[in-house]
């Protein structure tokens, strides 16, 4: 009698043919191009623009530019600050929305999600308009004697931070809301019943309860932030240049692709480290952190 097992030919054929289109596409147009970044870092630049022939270490050595460490550090630092403030705002917001009764909740959720559907560039531009030297906000602040007429609201790191937080917030609210929705709020009542203050209940019961959502939110904010390029370009100045700007400059202004490649490998490294933290920090379903030095619970 033919054994219809998990490993029947029919089943393997089905599995393979369903996975084939996406795997093929992503291998050719995602995996290989990513590997190419590493490869091109070892190629010289063509003086006329583009990639030269042959292989060399020169490109990698050129990374010793004294300006770079500062820029890399700034990129990481700004991303961290952005992540911190974004989460600091998103956590209470997600908490609040999850506790609203379902009827009104949909409306509020909609209000928070709508900016996500509007054009990314438009939102950045909207802030450029608001912070404009001759704009309304500037006039109002000068009028209130909060700043002098010469202060620029635009083209500075603070502006970059503000707009980054503005654009990243919906991405933080979503996973935090998803986690908050699944959270059993009677746990907080139990904590209060046992004598905890509201603050302690929040940090000792709620935060661990939404831990996976928190890590997801961190990731979803931090990683796009370190790759930020448009925001520093539009509202930032020369002292708020980030790694993304340098890469773009090398490509579009200097046509030096190998150099941009090499810089991108740094970006990839800067990205992998938080990714590793994320994977290690994720709680399994039982609620204990897999390999943790932290003593939660």
């Amino acid at each position: 009698m033919a054994k219809k097992h998990i490993f029947s030919k029919k089943r393997i054929f089905g599995e393979f043919s369903l996975s084939f289109p996406s795997m093929l596409w992503l291998i050719i147009f995602f995996l290989i191009p990513t590997l190419i970044i590493f490869a091109i870092a070892f190629k010289p630049a063509d003086p006329l623009g583009g990639i030269g022939s042959g292989w060399t270490f020169q490109t990698i050595l050129a990374l010793k530019n004294p300006n770079y460490p500062q820029i890399i550090w700034r990129t990481i630092w700004m991303s961290c600050v952005t992540t911190f403030f974004t989460l600091a705002l998103a956590i209470p917001i997600a908490y609040h929305i999850a506790r609203i009764p379902p009827g009104r909740r949909d409306f509020i959720l909609l209000l928070t999600i709508v900016p996500f559907w509007t054009s990314f560039l438009i939102r950045i531009f909207a802030w450029k308009a608001v912070l404009h030297p001759e704009g309304l906000l500037k006039h109002a602040l000068v009028y209130c004697h909060l700043i002098s007429p010469e202060t620029l609201l635009l083209y500075r790191p603070e502006a970059v931070l503000l707009v980054m937080i503005y654009t990243e917030l919906p991405f933080a609210i979503l996973p935090l809301y998803a986690a908050a929705e699944k959270f059993d709020f009677s746990l907080l009542e139990a904590a209060l019943d046992l004598g905890a203050s509201r603050l302690r209940a929040f940090f000792n019961v709620y935060i661990p309860g939404i831990w996976n959502g928190l890590l997801s939110a961190c990731l979803m904010v931090f990683i796009p932030s370190i790759g930020s390029y448009v925001i520093p370009d539009v509202v930032g100045g020369t002292d708020s240049m980030m790694l993304g700007n340098i890469i773009a400059q090398r490509i579009f202004v200097e046509r030096n692709l190998p150099h941009a490649s090499a810089l991108s490998t740094i970006l990839i490294l800067a990205m992998l480290i938080p990714l590793l933290f994320f994977l290690k920090g994720k709680k399994n379903k039982v609620g204990r952190i897999k390999k943790s030095t932290r003593g939660i619970e």
């Binding site: 089943r11 290989i32 509020i108 909609l110």
Partner: protein, 265 residues
């Protein structure tokens, strides 16, 4: 009843205000005679008139829709098959498959952009509509897969068994049962792909060739050039389209919900 802290609520409303103020300001200024919006100089529609005459904007829009159309179709097909593979089969192969699909979602766009640029340059493909469509499909596939996958997870597979039990062969089961059930998920995925494609700037910027300027790229160069009022007008138009679409979508889903609520005993 334990007294709830008001702080999260206050933060929520402040942040929502923070969300909408710049946008509202933008819309208001599109009707403002003043170029910089520093003061209200009077109501005007001249910026919209200027926009109407800016041919380069409308060409860019046409390009955007062209790319979005093809990118949506291709990525929806690929994404849906991937979602089925991930849902129906478990094991090491699918785990690898899942990693491959998940990774583009967590990578900064600039990396995707530069990797594709380098790829096209190395393989000596000219930058243009083809490269643009390929790039868009690449980043949309993952989103479509996730959207369809989450719908599939609510899907009760025994329904397919029931269909075979009642005499349907594989083709009949697929066309009468499977496709109609999966269609809402596919549409959601397609909608997501289209939105992402229309709105994409960074990746498009890297792989665009001369003559394949999309609307976001056009807006970016307008921002750099400083034609602020025009951008105000254009933004207002785009925002209205988005809001309208969301409104229509809400009305449609609310209508469906009301119907099912009324009919349950």
């Amino acid at each position: 009843m334990i007294k709830k802290s008001k702080i999260p609520g206050i933060i929520t409303w402040l942040v929502l205000l923070f969300f909408y103020l710049p946008i509202i300001l933008l819309v208001v200024n599109s009707f403002n005679l003043s170029r910089t919006g520093g003061s209200w100089d009077g109501f005007t529609l001249k910026w919209y008139a200027k926009l109407w005459n800016a041919k380069y904007v409308w060409t860019a829009l046409k390009n955007t829709l062209f790319v979005a159309f093809f990118a949506t179709i291709i990525s929806t097909i690929i994404g849906t098959t991937a979602a089925f593979a991930l849902h129906l089969y478990k094991g090491k192969f699918q785990k690898t498959h899942y990693c491959l699909i998940y990774t583009p979602l967590v990578i900064p766009e600039i990396l995707l952009g530069i990797s594709l640029l380098l790829f096209f340059v190395s393989v000596k493909i000219d930058l243009g509509f083809t490269t643009m469509i390929i790039a868009h499909v690449t980043f949309c596939v993952s989103y479509v897969t996730m959207a369809v996958l989450s719908r599939l997870q609510d899907f009760d597979m025994t329904i397919l068994e029931a269909s075979r039990d009642l005499g349907a062969n594989t083709w009949q089961s697929t066309t009468h049962i499977l496709l109609p059930m999966v269609m809402p998920g596919m549409l959601a995925g397609a909608l997501l792909a289209m939105t992402l494609s229309v709105d994409d700037f960074v990746i498009s910027f890297f792989v665009a060739g001369p003559g394949s300027t999309t609307l976001p790229i056009q807006i970016y160069s307008m921002i750099k050039r400083g034609s602020m009022p025009l951008i105000n007008a254009l933004s207002t138009l785009l925002l209205s389209v988005t809001f309208l679409m969301i409104l229509v979508f809400q009305i449609l889903t609310k209508h469906k919900k009301k119907q099912s609520v009324l009919n349950v005993e």
